[in-house]
Symmetry: C4
Subunit: 212 residues, 4 copies
C-alpha cells in the first residue's frame, strides 16, 4: 500500500480542475464580445446600424446565458465532490472543448440570422453544439455520481444525479434542432428560453409556474 502511495496519485487535485475550468468558462464567455461591432462606414447612421445588429446581441445573450448557466451547474457539481481522477479530468476536458467551441456557432448565428438558407444551417449547427455540450455535461455528472469515492461523504450520490434534472434538457435541444430545420428563428428562441428557464432559480420557476 505504501508502494501504491508513492506513485503519482490516481487522485488528481480537484482545485486545479476547477481553476482551469473557471479559466476556460471565463474566457469563452468574454470572447463572445469580440463578435459585436458595426460594419465599416456605419458612422453616418450609427444608431440605425447598431439596431440593425440585433441578431448579434441575441446570439451574445443566448450564448452568455448558456455558458453562465452551465458554469453554475459545474460549480454546484464540483462543490459536491471531494476529489477528482484522470477520467473525470478527461470528461471535463470534453465539456471544455465544447464550451470553448461555442463562440464559433455564436458567430455563425449572429452573422447569418435573417439570410434565409444560411440561417437554417447556422441554427442547426448551434443547436448541435448545445446538444453535444449537454451530453458531455451529463457524462461528467453521471461519472461523478457513479464513483462514490469522488463525492463528499456528507452528500448522497443521488443528489449529484438529481442535479441532472435541472441540467440541460437533452429533449429540449433535440426539439430545438428539429424546429430549426423548418423555422430557424423559432429554434433559436427555444435555445434562449431553455437558458433563461435554467438561469432562473429553481424556486422562482416553481413559484411562477405553480403558485400563480
Amino acid at each position: 500500500m505504501s508502494a501504491d502511495a508513492s506513485r503519482l496519485p490516481h487522485e488528481l487535485p480537484l482545485g486545479r480542475l476547477e481553476a482551469f475550468s473557471d479559466g476556460v468558462f471565463a474566457i469563452a464567455i468574454t470572447l463572445l464580445v469580440l463578435e459585436l461591432g458595426v460594419e465599416e462606414g456605419a458612422g453616418a447612421h450609427l444608431l440605425h446600424a447598431l439596431l440593425h445588429e440585433w441578431p448579434a446581441y441575441l446570439a451574445y445573450f443566448t450564448s452568455f446565458l448558456t455558458i453562465g448557466v452551465i458554469w453554475l451547474q459545474h460549480s454546484a457539481i464540483t462543490g459536491a465532490l471531494r476529489t477528482a481522477d484522470g477520467t473525470l479530468y478527461r470528461l471535463n476536458l470534453l465539456v471544455l472543448l465544447l464550451v470553448g467551441l461555442l463562440p464559433f456557432p455564436t458567430r455563425l448565428l449572429s452573422e447569418f440570422i435573417g439570410e434565409r438558407d444560411p440561417e437554417r444551417v447556422a441554427a442547426v449547427v448551434y443547436g448541435l453544439t448545445l446538444l453535444a455540450l449537454a451530453l458531455a455535461l451529463t457524462a461528467f455528472v453521471r461519472y461523478a455520481a457513479e464513483h462514490r469515492r469522488l463525492v463528499k461523504d456528507e452528500v448522497e450520490a443521488d443528489a449529484v444525479e438529481a442535479a441532472l434534472l435541472h441540467s440541460p434538457s437533452l429533449v429540449l435541444y433535440g426539439i430545438g434542432i428539429l424546429v430549426s430545420l423548418l423555422l430557424p428563428t423559432v429554434g433559436v428562441a427555444l435555445y434562449l428560453a431553455s437558458a433563461v428557464y435554467r438561469g432562473l432559480p429553481a424556486r422562482t420557476v416553481h413559484r411562477l409556474l405553480w403558485r400563480r
Copy 2:
C-alpha cells in the same frame, strides 16, 4: 435535516464565484488593448498617426479604470461574505455580463469620437452600459446585505450596504448620459472623472477636498 444536507447544498462555494469573476474581469480588462492600433499604411507618419488615435487611449483608460474600480469594489464586498447562494451567483452573472460587454461600447467610443453624430450615439450607449453595470452591482451588494447568513459574523450588514456609498453613483451616470446627448465629449469626461474619483483611496479624496 440530514436529508436536507444530503441534497446539493443551497450554499454555493464563494471561492469559485470569486475565481470566475476574477477571470472575466481580467479578460475584459485585457481585451481592451485589442482596440488599440494604427491605420493601415500609417508607417510614413507613425508618430502623427499614434497621436491621432488619442480617443482610443482615452476610451482604453476610462474603461480600464472603470473595470478596475468595479473589481476593487467586488473584492471588498466578497471579502466581507462568508458564502454564496444561487441567487448571488445569478446576480454576479449579470454583473459579469455587463463587464464582459464593456469592450464593445469602448470600441464604439474609440472609433467615433470626433465624428459629430455617431459620437453622440457612442457616448450615450457607453453611458447606458455603465449605468446598467452600476445597477447590477447595486443589486448584487443589496442582496448580500439583506441576507445576513451570507455575511461573515464579524461584519455588520450595514457595512456592506455602506460600501454602496463609494460605489458607482447612479445619479452621476444619469447626468453623464443626459450631457452626452448634447455634449458627447463632456459626457465622456464625466464618466472618466467618476472612475478617477472612485479610483483614488477614500482617505486621499477626503484629504484633497476638505483638508486643503
Copy 3:
C-alpha cells in the same frame, strides 16, 4: 540561518505557478476558436463552406487535445510537488512560452492544409513546436524529480520521472516531423494520434492493446 530566512524566500509559492499556468493553458486552448470561421460571402452555400473548412476543425481538435493533455500532465506533476523555486518557475515559463505559441502554427496548419508546398512547411513548423514543447516539459519534470526538496515527502522521486513515460514521446514527434516532410497530412495524423493516445486513460489503453 535566521538572516537567511529573512531574505525573500528561495522557495516560491507553488500555488501561483499553478494559477498562472492554468491561466495560460486556459487562454491558449480557448483562443484556438478564433481561428474558426467561414470565408466572406459564404452565406449562399454555408453548409458547403462549413464542410470545406475541415482542416481548421482538425487543427483545432489536435491542438485542443494536445494542450489539454499537457495540462493534465502538468497538473499531475505539480500535484506531486511540495513547493517551487526560481528555476522551476523559469522552466515553467519556457513550457508556457510554447503553449502560448501553439495557436500560431495551428493557424498555419488550418490555413494551408491542402495547398501542396505550404502544407509541408506548416506541418513541419507545427511538429517542431510540439517537439520543443515536449522537450521543455521533460526539462520541467526532470528538474523537479532531481530536486528532492521540491517533491512531497510521500511521493517517490522515481514516480515523478515515471510520469515521463506517459509524457509526450520525443521519438514520436521526431518521426512525425520527418514524415511531414514527405507526406504532411500523414504527419498531422501522427500528431493527432499521439494526443489521442495520451488523452485516453493509461488503463484504457492497456486494456485495448493487450487484453483483446
Copy 4:
C-alpha cells in the same frame, strides 16, 4: 474597536489581488500570439514568408520574457506579504494597466521594424512603456516595503526592497530609449538583453560573470 472591525475591512484579501493579477499577466502574455501571422497569399513561399516575419518573433519573445520576468518578481514580492490594502490594490492596478497595454507597442514593433522612420517611433514607444511599467512596479514594491503591517512577520522589510535590485533597471530602460532614438534595433536588443538577464537565475548570472 469593535465598531471599527464591523466596517468593511481596510485590509483587502491578498489572494484576490494575486488571482486577478495572474489572470491579467496570463492573458497579456497569451494575447501576444495573436500578432503572429503571415501576409495574405503567402502560401506560395510560406517558408520564406515565415522567415521574413522575424521582427514579429523577436517582439513576441521580448515581450513574453518581459511579462514573464515581471510576473516572477510580482510572485516573489506578494509571496513575502501577509495582506493587502486599498492603496496596494491601486498600485497593482497601475502595474496591470501597463502589463495589459504591452501587446500594443509589441504590435507596433513587430509591424514597423525595418521601416526606417516608424521603427524609431515604435522602439521609443516600446521603451517608454517598459520604463513606465518598471516605475509602477517600483512604486508597488516600495509601498509594500514601507508598510510593515503588510509584510509577513518572518520577512525583513529590507528584503522586500532588496528585491528591487533584481527588478527592472530604470537606468537601463532610460539608456535603451535614448539609444532607440538613434539606433532603434540596438535599443530593442537592449530591452531583450535586460529581460534575458533578469530571466536567468541570479546565481547563474553570478557564476557566469564572476566564476569564469
